[in-house]
Symmetry: C4
Subunit: 280 residues, 4 copies
Amino acid sequence: MANFKGHALPGSFFLVFGLWWSIKYPLTYLNGRIKGKRSSNKFHKRLELIEGVMKVVFTLIGMLAEQFVPDGPHLHLVSGDHGWVKLMNWQHTTMYFFYGLSGVVDILTYFPLNFPQGLDRLSLALAVFIEGLLFYYHVHNRPPLDQHIHSLLLIAIFGGSISIMIEVFLRDNIVLEMFRSSLAILQGTWFWQIGFVLYPLGKAPEWDQSDHENIMFITMCFCWHYAVSLIIISVNYGLVYWCLKRNKGLAGDVTIGIRKLKSNNQGEVQTALLTASDEE
Amino acid sequence: MANFKGHALPGSFFLVFGLWWSIKYPLTYLNGRIKGKRSSNKFHKRLELIEGVMKVVFTLIGMLAEQFVPDGPHLHLVSGDHGWVKLMNWQHTTMYFFYGLSGVVDILTYFPLNFPQGLDRLSLALAVFIEGLLFYYHVHNRPPLDQHIHSLLLIAIFGGSISIMIEVFLRDNIVLEMFRSSLAILQGTWFWQIGFVLYPLGKAPEWDQSDHENIMFITMCFCWHYAVSLIIISVNYGLVYWCLKRNKGLAGDVTIGIRKLKSNNQGEVQTALLTASDEE
Amino acid sequence: MANFKGHALPGSFFLVFGLWWSIKYPLTYLNGRIKGKRSSNKFHKRLELIEGVMKVVFTLIGMLAEQFVPDGPHLHLVSGDHGWVKLMNWQHTTMYFFYGLSGVVDILTYFPLNFPQGLDRLSLALAVFIEGLLFYYHVHNRPPLDQHIHSLLLIAIFGGSISIMIEVFLRDNIVLEMFRSSLAILQGTWFWQIGFVLYPLGKAPEWDQSDHENIMFITMCFCWHYAVSLIIISVNYGLVYWCLKRNKGLAGDVTIGIRKLKSNNQGEVQTALLTASDEE
Amino acid sequence: MANFKGHALPGSFFLVFGLWWSIKYPLTYLNGRIKGKRSSNKFHKRLELIEGVMKVVFTLIGMLAEQFVPDGPHLHLVSGDHGWVKLMNWQHTTMYFFYGLSGVVDILTYFPLNFPQGLDRLSLALAVFIEGLLFYYHVHNRPPLDQHIHSLLLIAIFGGSISIMIEVFLRDNIVLEMFRSSLAILQGTWFWQIGFVLYPLGKAPEWDQSDHENIMFITMCFCWHYAVSLIIISVNYGLVYWCLKRNKGLAGDVTIGIRKLKSNNQGEVQTALLTASDEE
């Protein structure tokens, strides 16, 4: 769907997930700080399940939309005269499929099937990587601005993929999780931006796709999107903190609990190592 | 051997190893979860030995085939008039040699020669890297589709090399091992795909090697291969789990054993760190 | 500000921070070695606060200077006839903004708001990365020497960004901190060098921007800058050590304290692991 | 010194260091396994000191040779008419300088000056990186074979730099140390190979520098060099093991000592983590 909607739809998905993560992770992080370990938390696990189901549902919608829109391929891959049918839609279907797979792994992780820990993160990282791979070869032979605006997207995509890959080994690390949230929001808003630039709505003027000034502006605009994304996750973190403090009735309780745990965890990795060596 | 067989042969080797790993690692992982540490397991060690021997045998076959096929170099490197003889076959021989070396290290690791742990993984990672290096310079001056289809192979190769390199430091990590298995299967099936595309069998039509649509399709096709590979390793994991559950007679036994160990190892790295800091 | 001052100003900022870090980190490191953990140190925390405030002040000055110099954009982004206004100044403003954001996170980390540890490092790494990103697209369509001299800067920038990213996980690692200091000093002096080369002062002759010899010299010159930077941080380390030794009155005290702690921490990571495994 | 000697000299330095490391590290590793921790070992520390001194001496020789050979720059950088004097020699001098710096840090680490652990590794990694950086820009505007043969060298150089960088955090890891040794030997022999290819000795015929076959052969030849390098370090490891076994009189002693420690250290990182989590 090489039009405005085809960019707004995935953009919205990423935005929703980014915003959701920017609330979920501070919530489970601060909750965990009070009550103990996060992973053993039932509430946290159920959230993961819901997320998995949502992923599967959203990607199914995306796949069906790509296949069965009026100008879609309707599951035909090869036409009679040996040409490929609507490869763009098939590529998007492929991207959605891998996100769906990641959703399935999230669901399987919930049930007591002894799925190794970390596979859910790995499958998400792979889905993001596949998205990046397809985009990378997607933009050959396009005008400079089109290429540039998509290659900026690749930074958010591959950055996200690497960051999630690290989460396989450093699970439940709040910094990585917030970083992931911020990159998801960035992807979301940037998809919208691509839509606005390449398919101007209404009577907005067309962008000159080979103007060097436009390319310079778009680079900077990408940074502003990220600045906004960072501000959004900061605000959400603040809201979650404030809500938790209010709801628990005794603000002090939360704070003390957090403080106690925090002082135990100053520079988590480092502390663990120092502790270990202090025991000699 | 720039023909269909020359791609089908290595493809089959990788496929066999990928499938084998996708059974071996879940097996030793689940077994280890019940009985304790994996590495000290005699059964596991013997499997590694057999694998090393198989590697050496397979690569010897591959090397001999590359050298002594009718149109091979028969161990001649330089011909009389200072031209190189059959460099392609020599390159393939070189690739096989490094895999053979990795097999030798596997065997040496088995015997009580005090070989440092991790050298077997390092030598495998190096073999995969050398394969990637040779392929990288292999495809210069070829038609676009040929280059593209090989460069996608490089993703699987270098991805595998990096992942095995991490195993040097994070040994016996089931997620990394399953990731490696999936990449090996991907390499295997992709070698076959390259064979089919570049040397169409029977009366199949030739591919237009400079058509942009074909390149786009091949990119997507690569993703589908990986999707199939992921599904294969999931199914194999499920089969192994189911077999272990049946064979042990008491399904509960396994599950409890696993559960117990699993709860100790939720997010292994993280737990260790948190545990260490809790002890302060 | 594409002139000498526009390079000297940021160069001075980086130089000041690099020099400051090359004193602060050895100080807190050696102090911490004597008294115990570093992070819990009030003095250290206050230093971080002051640093955050300084960052915010400096970047505000930078942003205002870029916007309100006589030939600046004065906060106008689009002029009437749909051209962009002074994009260069806007890009610099964006760079300063992200460093300012990092300063704000430093300040928030000081107050008891339960900001997760590591976010301050992450935000600094992101600021450096954004700087690199903007520079990367900054230098297209320039003469070879101009491109080359900026691409060398990118090595210092991205090297710094990666190194700070690692500090998210390995906080308070003196080697990483000194590496960061050295790269900051390198950036600082290199900005000055760029200014001297591209905008020769006074009656100095212009550089031939497409001479291959000049490019070769500049590469080497970059290495010399780094050599000087390394020597500066070594000297500062020595000075700090010497001062601490004098001030404490009893030189032996410091040395013994340090020695005792040092022997506990030989190769911190390794020791921790060995220790842990010795306890079996 | 763009001639055979100019490649043979640094090649010999790297070869000597690679061979020396391939004996030193197995020695200290196996010794450490018997007697306890390696780092606290006086013998090991003295070896490091000697190595540092040797580095300084060798690089001084290299620097003086580059400056004061008959056609050298004799410390002149700029000639009267504003041209650069013998930049190639100056670049080589710069490379040697950074290796010398690394030697100085090795020496300082020996004395009780409280130099942070890991700085010696960092300075070595930086020296290797600087070498790679200078080589990278060194080979522009050369014939294809010349470029290719140097770019293969870059793989050994940057691979080594990354590996040493990891040693900053994972000190005394025998696998990394043996990997480093193998890359140093590879660099050494490859420098000689470059000399033979670009400046054929005696009556050997010139290489056709733009023949694609030659480039393919050289790639493969690089792999063979590495194969030889791997075999050399394996043989040296075997020799060291055999000597230690003989010298200690009681072969069993060594083996038992090693076995005991080895079983404690199966997959060092992993064990540590599992141990930590077992203590819950």
